[in-house]
Amino acid sequence: MRIVVAMSGGVDSSVAAALLTEQGHEVVGLSMQLYDQRGPEAFGSCCSLDDLYDARRVASTLGFPHYIVNFERQFRETVIANFVSEYASGRTPLPCAHCNSDLKFSTLLERAHGLGAAHVATGHYARVERDEDGRWQLQRSADRAKDQSYFLFSLTQDQLAHAVFPVGALTKPEVRDQARRLALNVADKPDSQEICFVPDHDYASFVAKHEPAVTHAGAIVDESGQQLASHGGIHRFTVGQRKGLGVSAAAPLYVLKIDAASREVTVGPRSSLERERLTASHVNWIAVDAPAGWLSVSAQIRHRHLAAPGRVRALEHGRAEFEFDTPQPAVTPGQAVVFYDEDIVVGGGWID
């Protein structure tokens, strides 16, 4: 079977390609160019020229063709546009999830179809399986510490049907062992950590460059509305943030709320950060049809969050509400909430 592997030049997608090759598939490696590689300041951590070189080396070692596809326009129109507008709206975006559903398993999958490949494989740490009813299930990775199912919650049944995650059943150390066994040049390459298209992790400058209006000053206020300080733009804040507020207080203060209209950033003590419930929009139900009644699940509200138990039910217009058994700090608008039943992704949406 011809299968397209999205190759970032990292160890995970490289081993994914290697495993598929060993299984006898005809692998075609595609690396996505997502932003201008030539600008002096344009080098992020992923998909740089060095990464493209690494991907090419792996393809040549394993003996399959490798191409670079230019998705700069699509990336700009989907992922970057959303990233900037979310910050400008006082929300904290999650570009990797958009990249997965709006680019890798959309534009890239379409390209794969054009090349006679029904599936796109990636190096994600997640598993996809078809249950007895024919429904595609998304599950956490065998390596819980590396699990990336949180970033894949917005894949539809159609997209999951065409997604392959060859390293989802492995742990990271096992993936590196495989890479060393195959003598891949990326075996000991460090994991990428940052948002790939933001140089030097300086997302505030990136947002300001794309949307200069965000730099309008505003007030930092306490819960009673008393102004404590001023700030240089709401894009510099995220709900739950403690550092860099420019306010001194006896007890640590956290960002509680960002109001894009008034440009007010409300801060308060950690106790005020906790929430008992949340609502989410554009909810994608995977394991079940949208549940009219309450369903017991756990909710993960950011990448490194330990899913907290509670109950969820669907609302109208593709929304959902979730109630935590125990209140959780830093429910951040713009991040994803993903509902789990043990390892199974029940569904997920964007926190309001």
Binding site: L52, E110, H162
Partner: protein, 388 residues
């Protein structure tokens, strides 16, 4: 997989005669051509022989040929060399066309940043440069006019002799990048009436990394590289002996085979072109079909991204190209097609097929057979994936 190579304008396979001679040269002519002793003399003699062969191919004296690292260096040497040599005279204006190779365009940009004024002459959808338009661009300050002989992407042949005549009448030095015409059509520096001519070995079944600049006797230009007195003090650095010998053999082969190859390739190319136009709807040839080098056709495929088409064809074993590759290897819309006034869409949906010595009727038939299915598949795709 039986592979078909239709990308000879990118590079050509090294001819067996060239490879054999170069392998011998690497072993036997290892001497430094600047050395006084036997070994140096032997290498020097081999280079002189190559210089004569390259000169003969373009109707030039051997002594007027300077070997370089390739077409890009030759273009840089010609443009920068003349610009700098004439700088003290106050002539700081340079003229070229919008459809040149990047070796010329980016050299112009670099000189523009250093204070030279530059003019890019526009070209219409025929892909033929108008001699009048070039003439209009030339002023009293114009030091150099450079116009390519044949275009690398669409193959059109420029009215170079007329352009050279008009430009020289206005006192400008005339250079041509003939990388894509040498070996494909007769090139004679005297008939063309130019002052400088760039050529490259690997486009004529020679090795990569070697080229030449023909410099009309008596023309002054500054060297790019400073160092020893190699190449009559015009190009410092120990010569790429084996490469130069290979280029010499390639030039000899081109001189003897060119006419027969060209008429054969024209038939094949026309068969391919007409076959594609007939078999695939929404196709059109970019640029005029004549005058054009015999091996090249550039065809646009409506509603198909050339990037996908190129990859799909490669997976079928058919090598073609499109636009120019950027640093990462991805494709950008062709600057040539954009400069000719085609929409960005069309510039991004065009494929170049460039045939060569080993191309056969069977190759052409296979491409015509495979293309319609691939194009139909790419056109049928929507943004919503089909469930397996």
């Amino acid at each position: 997989m039986q592979r078909i190579y239709f990308d000879h304008n990118a590079t050509t396979p090294v001819a067996p005669e060239v490879a054999d001679r170069m392998a011998a040269a690497l072993r036997e002519e290892f001497g430094n051509p600047s050395s006084v002793h036997h070994f140096g003399q032997r290498a020097k003699a081999a280079i002189d022989e190559a210089r004569s062969a390259v000169g003969a191919l373009i109707g030039a004296e051997a002594s007027e040929i300077v070997f370089t690292s390739g077409g890009t260096e030759s273009d840089n040497f010609a443009i920068r060399g003349v610009a700098e040599a004439l700088e003290p005279t106050g002539r700081r204006h340079l003229v070229t066309t919008a459809i040149e190779h990047e070796a010329v365009l980016n050299t112009f940009k670099a000189l523009a940043r250093r204070g030279w004024s530059t003019t890019l002459v526009k070209v219409d959808q025929t892909g033929i440069v108008s001699p009048d338009a070039v003439t209009e661009a030339i002023g009293e300050q114009t030091a150099l006019v450079t116009v390519m002989h044949a275009n690398n992407e669409i193959g059109t042949i420029q009215p170079l002799a007329e352009i050279a005549r008009l430009a020289k009448a206005r006192g400008a030095v005339v250079h041509t990048d003939a990388v894509q015409s040498v070996g494909k059509i007769p090139v004679n520096v005297k008939t063309l009436g130019v002052d400088l001519l760039s050529l490259s070995a690997h486009k004529i079944y020679g090795p990569k990394g070697v080229g030449a600049l023909w410099i009309r006797r008596g023309l002054r230009l500054n060297p790019l590289l400073t160092g020893g007195k190699h190449e009559r003090s015009r190009r410092a650095g120990t010569e790429n002996v084996a490469g130069i010998i290979g280029m010499g053999v390639a030039a000899q082969l081109a001189a003897t085979k060119m006419a027969a190859d060209a008429s054969r390739l024209a038939l094949l190319r026309d068969g391919l072109e007409n076959g594609i136009l007939a078999a695939v709807s929404g196709t059109a040839v970019n640029g005029t079909r004549t005058p054009r080098v015999a091996n090249t056709t550039n065809i646009s495929f409506d509603r198909v991204e050339a990037e996908s088409l190129l990859i799909a064809l490669d997976l079928e074993g058919i090598a073609v190209s499109t636009g120019s590759a950027c640093s990462s290897g991805t494709l950008e819309p062709s600057h040539v097609l954009k400069a000719m006034g085609f929409s960005p869409h069309r510039a991004q949906n065009s494929i170049r097929f460039s045939l060569g010595a080993a191309s056969t009727e069977a190759d052409v038939a296979r491409v015509i057979a495979v293309l319609p299915g691939i194009v139909e598949k790419l056109r049928s795709l929507t943004r919503t994936p089909v469930r397996a």
